[in-house]
């Protein structure tokens, strides 16, 4: 059927995001909170996340520049906040990078922090693009009957 094709695409796209390890169960939890009155709840939360966390990213970036030596406590505190938000939207890979970063803070590994942060920013930006594409397609397709769980 012509009409089911877009829905299958959306489902496939979502499946792919999970297969790539980019999203976890929390994303599904959020999708299940949508209803007729709030059909785009997840998209709103994700948008809010990217807007709100950008200042944390900047702060961490700034703190990483202030070496001699690095203030690992400050970095860890900032990253704790960032990790929390990332976890709340189900950003699995980003969250994993946060955990790694915090480990390097604990061991006082400046190199590790910087490398991990670069990777984190990549994942963060990549996820944003993919989610934008997903939401765009989902909106075009119209509301789905229920949040479908990927396999």
């Amino acid at each position: 059927m012509e009409r089911s094709q877009p829905r299958r695409q959306v489902a496939a796209m979502k499946q792919s995001l999970f297969d790539q390890g980019l999203l976890d169960e929390q994303f599904i939890q959020l999708e299940e909170l949508s209803d007729d009155a709030n059909p785009n709840f997840v998209e709103e939360i994700v948008t809010l996340y990217y807007r709100d966390s950008s200042r944390l990213i900047s702060s961490i970036e700034q703190a990483l520049k202030e070496r001699h030596p690095l203030d690992f406590n400050k970095l860890d505190t900032l990253m704790h906040q960032f990790k929390g938000s990332s976890s709340s939207i189900g950003a699995k890979k980003v969250k994993a990078e946060c955990t790694l970063f915090r480990e390097y803070c604990r061991t006082g590994n400046a190199e590790g922090c910087m490398k991990t942060f670069q990777q984190l920013k990549k994942e963060y930006a990549s996820l944003r693009k993919k989610l934008e594409a997903y939401f765009q397609l989902a909106r075009q397709t119209g509301p789905m009957e229920t949040a479908c769980r990927p396999k």
Binding site: Q29, L48, H80, G84, S85, S88
Partner: protein, 199 residues
């Protein structure tokens, strides 16, 4: 529809039915999520971004003003917040003769048993490990309802996730049904089962 005695946005006619939750979290994303979760469960929500603001809202700040008509049934707060932590807030609330009866639930991204212990000892009702899910909040709703109203069961959840256990009555023995939520999601349940001597 004009209501007499509209106070703090709570309409008098509905105030005895609607559970009013004060949510405290410095994360904007988390505030939005918890707000949504609570609204889905038909709770009225006031969300603030710090312990200081929570105290202000309750009238427990320096001004010590009594807030006319304020009715808060449940307080749910993040643990790690800059300035005043959720634990500090919990202590302040339990020190207050006006508010010490209000159940306080702590949320934290870190499942640290000593932390949970501390909070329980200080009088926290429950502890949720983040990220917060609907099933976590469903479990809490009965604290807010308490014994004031003939205990309202949770809305029919047959079409939703069924991982939440039946509501536990504070006066009855802890829920030990095999279909309880996974222990990792409910450290409180596990602790209550093993430390009944402390009650």
């Amino acid at each position: 529809m004009e209501c007499e005695g509209v106070v703090s946005g709570v309409r008098m006619g509905e105030s005895s039915e609607e559970v009013h939750v004060l949510a405290v979290d410095d994360s904007l994303v988390d505030r939005k999520v918890i707000e949504r979760l609570l609204k889905i469960l038909a709770c009225k929500v006031t969300a603030v971004d710090s312990g200081v603001r929570a105290l202000e809202y309750l009238g427990l700040d320096q001004s010590d003003a009594f807030v006319e008509g304020l009715k808060v049934d449940l307080i749910i707060t993040d643990y790690c917040m800059p300035g005043m932590t959720g634990y500090d807030l919990l202590k302040k609330i339990k020190e207050s003769s006006t508010f010490r009866e209000i159940p306080v639930v702590i949320m934290s991204s870190e499942n640290i048993l000593p932390r949970i212990d501390r909070c329980l000892e200080e009088g926290a009702e429950d502890f949720i490990v983040k990220p917060v899910k609907l099933s976590d909040v469903k479990r809490l709703k009965d604290y807010g309802v308490g014994g004031r109203i003939n205990k309202r069961k949770l809305p029919d959840t047959t079409e939703l996730d069924l991982s939440s256990s039946p509501p536990s009555d504070s006066s009855s023995s802890p829920s030990i049904s095999p279909s309880s939520p996974p222990v990792i999601d409910s450290p409180i349940q596990r602790l209550k089962m093993t430390t009944t001597a402390l009650d």
